[in-house]
């Protein structure tokens, strides 16, 4: 009896101990362990994977609508718009809906009517619309990409009036190029997605495109808006505007010039020209021919290219690439004699020649056993330094180069930036092609010295040539002066610090003197512009051994303080135009014409010599009512010639009328008692005539003449190269016909 409770209590104690121990373990497991485990899991989700999961949350919880940004505008340096974006609307069909609508009884329109009307409004073929309407599974068939707004409005009115469901318009942006072809190679164009593909449009895509805006709305799991409003706006940021260094007027004159030149000489491979601000490297104009219409960039413009495709000699794609090519920087060429400017500069700078250096040319020179001919096979004889430049004497320049030595010469080519891209802010610039320095032999040096056997781009060459004449400063050419936002705040401004000084101011002055002499008395005389001191250098380069040539002319003005520098090249002109194929004969006249147009426009004051002053434009005095004698005296005082018709004593009429501005030395017709004839005068044929014959022919026709180009009228070989009005045109009496004079005998 006494044993039992004791045993019992023992048992109870043990049972209790077990319960206590196990409960305690359980307490730790469920009260601590479990929650530590959960904490780790939540930490992983809420801290480590927070961003990933939040992104998923935002993705599904929000609905965002894009707001298109307007692409930036491209201006020339005077604020003229070269490229601008405008609203346009894309018209698309939902054939599926249209089909369903057609099946409904209440539909008032017919399929035929819809097709006919849309084709009429949009100017597209009915067939293409019909074809798209047959795709009845589709809900999106574009029938007109980026229709102009007035067209879009017509479509809208039509579908609203007829209650058509299934034809839709979406707002889009369209790029317009107001000047069509002007500066097409520089501006470039955008693709269907409004992303730049070529030129500045591609190069400055990041600046121009702007930032697409967003409207973010919260939505619930069922796809409708959330109970409480949650909307966030990310404003679309319009693209920034580009302000170019380009001047559309200068560009226009340059394009006109090279186009006429390339057509006249039937250039096989087009032509290109670059006009730089000689002191900063700013590109005032850069043209390439053939060109194209930016608003319709895939259509071939040039007859040559079109014919090649039509004759199946070339694919459309290849020819498109060709018309989009900016020859001034995408292509390299052997520069020929215009390169002599660099040889001259380096030799003068290094002191291996000076202004008193003379050279005797015997017609050829032998280097490393190879004989190199001069352009004048009989030799130029004894020449001063200036004359070697004026004659473009190859043996002389080979000698200058050899005096410099291989290393120095190579170093100068590097310093002039020819071994690298010029750095112009346009895409696709090619790099010059040169011999490796360790393989650069004496013979190579001899050829390099007059600009053969290596390739450069026109843009890199003209930048180097600018350095030769502007005091020695090499500038990277540039097209974009500044980038600014819509309010005009400047975001980027070009810094025109020179890359380096290659030659000294003194050397540069000597180079200018030589080059002015080339134009006033040498192969560059066709590049003269009345009233301006022009420096320049001609170039005629062989394209390998093919017999084809590249002709070019480099000029700058004013010669004593260059403001603008221009290089024009023409690739593979025809040899059968009757003009001796050389830069001096083919390109210099065009250069002269372009310079005579852009120099006054750019505000560079002409300085006429006494002789030129007489030929300069003068205001005609009003002499009607005066006695003939008195009138003649007045005209003479102003330097005009006169011709009197009728035998009255008083002037009853005059041509041109008083206060007209006409070239000096022109003939004013006085009518004394005779009526001024009504009607128009016929422009005579002038090309090929001497200046005197041309003057007589124009005056006889009752018109006035203005001479342009070389003023060296004493040379017997000066002829009219072109005339501003075509033969046979009818013009009022007193109209001024401008003729370009040129010396047809020059050879480079």
């Amino acid at each position: 009896m006494s044993n039992q409770p004791k045993r019992k209590s023992e048992e109870v104690r043990r049972a209790n101990r077990t319960i206590q121990t196990r409960t305690f373990v359980l307490m730790l497991v469920l009260g601590v362990g479990a929650f530590l485990l959960l904490f780790c899991k939540l930490y992983q989700l809420q801290i480590l994977r927070h961003e990933e999961l939040q992104e998923l949350a935002v993705d599904q919880q929000t609905r965002s609508t894009e707001v298109t940004a307007s692409r930036g505008t491209i201006y020339d340096r005077n604020g003229n718009i070269l490229a601008i974006s405008a609203t346009a609307e894309t018209v698309f069909l939902s054939p599926k809906e249209l089909n369903e609508e057609l099946g409904k009884a209440e539909t008032k329109w017919t399929k035929e009517g819809l097709v006919e009307n849309l084709s009429k409004i949009l100017g597209i073929s009915a067939k293409s619309i019909e074809e798209k309407m047959t795709r009845t599974d589709s809900q999106y068939e574009v029938i007109k990409l980026r229709a102009d707004e007035d067209v879009a409005n017509k479509v809208r009115n039509y579908i609203n009036k007829n209650e058509i469901r299934g034809v839709y318009l979406v707002t889009d942006a369209k790029r317009y190029y107001p000047y069509s072809t002007l500066a097409c190679h520089i501006i470039g164009f955008v693709g269907n997605d409004n992303v730049g593909l070529y030129g500045l449009e591609a190069r400055y895509e990041d600046d121009l495109e702007g930032k697409t805006g967003l409207v973010v709305t919260a939505k619930n799991g069922a796809g409708s808006d959330m109970l409480y409003e949650y909307e966030k706006y990310y404003d679309a940021e319009n693209g920034d505007d580009l302000v170019l260094t380009l001047d559309s007027t200068v560009q226009y004159y340059l394009e006109k010039g090279i186009e006429e030149m390339a057509d006249k000489f039937d250039a096989d491979n087009g032509a290109t020209g670059v006009v730089l601000n000689a002191k900063t490297g700013a590109v005032l104009a850069m043209a390439s021919y053939p060109n194209y219409d930016l608003n319709d960039f895939s259509t071939l413009q040039d007859a040559k290219l079109k014919n090649a495709v039509a004759a199946k000699k070339a694919s459309l794609g290849d020819m498109q690439l060709r018309q989009w090519r900016n020859k001034a920087l995408n292509d390299t060429y052997e520069p020929g004699s215009t390169f002599k400017i660099l040889t001259l500069s380096a030799a003068l700078e290094e002191g291996v020649i000076d202004m008193n250096t003379t050279f005797d040319c015997g017609g050829s020179i032998t280097v490393m056993g190879s004989t190199i001919d001069c352009s004048a096979t009989q030799g130029h004889g004894h020449q001063s330094l200036k004359e070697t430049a004026a004659n473009s004497c190859n043996p002389a320049f080979i000698t200058y180069g050899l005096r410099l030595g291989n290393e120095k010469f190579y170093e100068y080519m590097k310093n002039f930036g020819l071994m690298d891209v010029s750095g112009v802010d346009l895409d696709g610039e090619a790099t010059g092609i040169f011999m490796e320095p360790d393989k650069f032999s004496q013979l190579d040096l001899a050829c390099y010295a007059f600009g053969q056997n290596f390739n450069v781009t026109p843009i890199a060459l003209v930048a180097a040539q600018a350095a030769c004449v502007n005091g020695g400063y090499l500038h990277a050419p540039y097209v974009v002066e500044r980038v600014q936002d819509g309010e005009g705040n400047v975001i980027y401004q070009h810094d025109d610090t020179p890359v380096r000084q290659v030659i000294s101011e003194e050397t540069s002055a000597k180079v200018r003197e030589c080059l002015e002499y080339v134009v006033s008395d040498g192969t560059g005389k066709n590049g003269q512009v009345a009233g301006y001191r022009i420096g320049g250098k001609t170039g005629t380069a062989d394209k390998g051994q093919t017999g084809d040539i590249v002709v070019s002319f480099l000029c700058f003005a004013p010669a004593d303080d260059p403001q603008v520098i221009m290089l024009i090249t023409m690739d593979t002109p025809s040899r059968t135009t009757g003009t001796y194929p050389s830069g001096g004969n083919m390109v210099a006249p065009t250069s002269s014409q372009v310079m005579s147009e852009i120099l006054p426009y750019l505000g560079i004051e002409p300085t006429y010599s006494a002789d030129e002053l007489l030929g300069a434009d003068t205001t005609v005095p009003n002499v009607v009512g005066m006695s003939v004698k008195e009138a003649v005296a007045r005209l003479k005082a102003k330097g005009f010639e006169h011709k009197t018709v009728g035998d009255g004593s008083k002037v009853t009429a005059q041509t041109p009328g008083g206060s007209a501005i006409i070239p000096g030395k022109s003939t004013v017709i006085l009518y004394a008692g005779v009526d001024k004839p009504e009607g128009l005068c016929t422009v005579p044929q002038l090309v090929g005539k001497t200046p005197a014959d041309a003057n007589a022919a124009v005056t006889d026709a009752g018109l006035l003449i203005r001479f342009s180009g070389t003023t060296d009228s004493e040379s017997g070989s000066v002829r009219v190269l072109s005339q501003s009005e075509k033969e046979g045109n009818k013009r009022p009496a007193g109209t001024v016909i401008t003729v370009q004079l040129g010396d047809t005998s020059v050879s480079d």
């Binding site: 048992e11 043990r14 049972a15 409960t23 469920l30 009260g31 929650f35 959960l38 949350a57």
Partner: protein, 400 residues
């Protein structure tokens, strides 16, 4: 009746009266204040979160954002009242009710699975509810309570016999087995896991042999891993989907994995500090069961890791305090009763949060005090009342 007998009877009566008085005296001790406060705090926070999680759906569906809050609030009030009443009852009285409770539970569970029973309700392909009019409840909730009370009563009487197969193991395994079969027929896997888990823990604490505990836990672990591996490799068809979605819900984010993905997005987007109370976006028809099983995902989204941890801390403290009471209970019955209730609470809390965070494969377990469900909340509070009633009888520490 002899005089002696009479005296003996009188003495027994007197003794019984004394015991009764002593019991009454003992049951008049103070309630455990920390446990009470934690319970009330969690109930209050649970109601706030339920409102936050449910108002968008309530507004869309019923036009009354407070629909769920009102209903849950009524049950919370009822539950708190019940908790206080239960806490006043001497828990020894549960001994008598244990068998009745268990029979009732059996009866109700059978009622649920009788085919075409008009009062059995089927939701989401599972018949777990009995309902009349607007009122419905899960018989499994009664079964849980019944198991806790029955096991506590029975185990507390067995002492060393718990070490035997015949008295300590088989009867309990038998009860749990029958209950499991009935509930799996509904089917109600999560409820079965909770009941079996709670029952098994009570057996362990009650003193079944140590080697059996080891083998049991080890065996369950091996079985679990084996099941996952087999389901993954496709040998077992049942649950293979669930396992695959647990491993990576993103392989089917729009259908099978939808709920899990939405829950992970909600939790993850909360980050450290959360999007702010009431500002969950996932509750706007994205996250399914946002006011039921997945309410904790909304908590995580709105309050962040810090808020979630604070709430988990409250749960942890409540559970720790529960076991603290169990360790100090006046007798084994009290200890086991509180162990059962607290284990049930702990298991359910852990499994719910583990499911919504993807720690364990998905199964429908609600979060105590938070998830919408009137009977569940009321019964939860009744269970808390039982713990409180045990706490009143904790002997005061002896001086010296």
């Amino acid at each position: 009746m002899t005089r002696q007998e009479y005296h003996a009877k009188k003495a027994r009566k007197e003794h019984a009266r004394q015991v009764e008085r002593k019991h009454r005296e003992a049951a008049k001790g103070p309630m455990d204040l920390p446990f009470l406060l934690l319970t009330l705090l969690l109930t209050a926070i649970g109601l706030i979160m339920l409102f936050s999680a449910s108002f968008p759906f309530a507004a869309y569906e019923d036009g009354d954002p407070t629909y769920y809050l009102k209903r849950q609030g009524i049950f919370a009030a009822l539950g708190i009242a019940a908790m206080f009443v239960v806490s006043k009852i001497n828990y020894q009285r549960w001994r008598g009710a244990s068998r009745i409770l268990m029979y009732t539970a059996f009866l109700l569970l059978i009622l649920v699975i009788i085919p075409h029973n008009p009062i059995a309700l089927t939701r989401n392909n599972a018949t777990r509810w009995l309902g009349v009019g607007g009122f419905s409840f899960q018989p499994s909730e009664i079964a849980k309570l019944a198991v806790i009370v029955l096991f506590a009563d029975s185990i507390s009487k067995k002492r060393d016999k718990m070490r035997t197969l015949r008295y300590g193991i088989l009867p309990y395994v038998g009860v749990l087995g029958v209950l499991s079969v009935l509930m799996l027929l509904e089917p109600h896997l999560s409820g079965t896991i909770l009941i079996v888990g709670t029952g098994a823990v009570m057996m362990i604490v009650g003193g079944i042999p140590g080697w059996l505990v080891g083998t049991g836990i080890g065996g369950a672990g091996v079985a679990g891993v084996l099941f996952v591996k087999l389901a993954e490799s496709g040998v077992i068809e049942y649950g293979s989907n669930r396992i695959a979605m647990w491993k990576d819900p993103w392989i089917d984010p729009l259908d099978e994995g939808f709920q899990m993905c939405q829950s992970l997005i909600a939790i993850g987007s909360g980050g450290l500090l959360g999007v702010g109370l009431g500002k969950s976006r996932q509750k706007f028809l994205y996250l399914p069961e946002r006011h039921n099983d997945f309410i904790f995902s909304v908590v995580c989204e709105e309050m962040g890791l810090i808020g979630a941890c604070l709430i988990m801390l409250l749960f942890a403290l409540l559970i720790l305090r529960g076991f603290w009471i169990a360790l100090r209970a006046r007798d084994r019955f009290g200890t086991l009763l509180v162990v059962g209730v607290t284990t049930h609470l702990g298991l359910q809390t852990f499994l719910n949060i583990a499911v919504v965070s993807g720690l364990v494969p998905a199964t429908g377990i609600s979060l105590p005090f938070f998830s919408y469900g009137g009977t569940a909340l009321t019964l939860q509070l009744v269970e808390m009342g039982i713990v409180l009633s045990v706490s009143r009888q904790i002997p005061a520490p002896r001086a010296g």
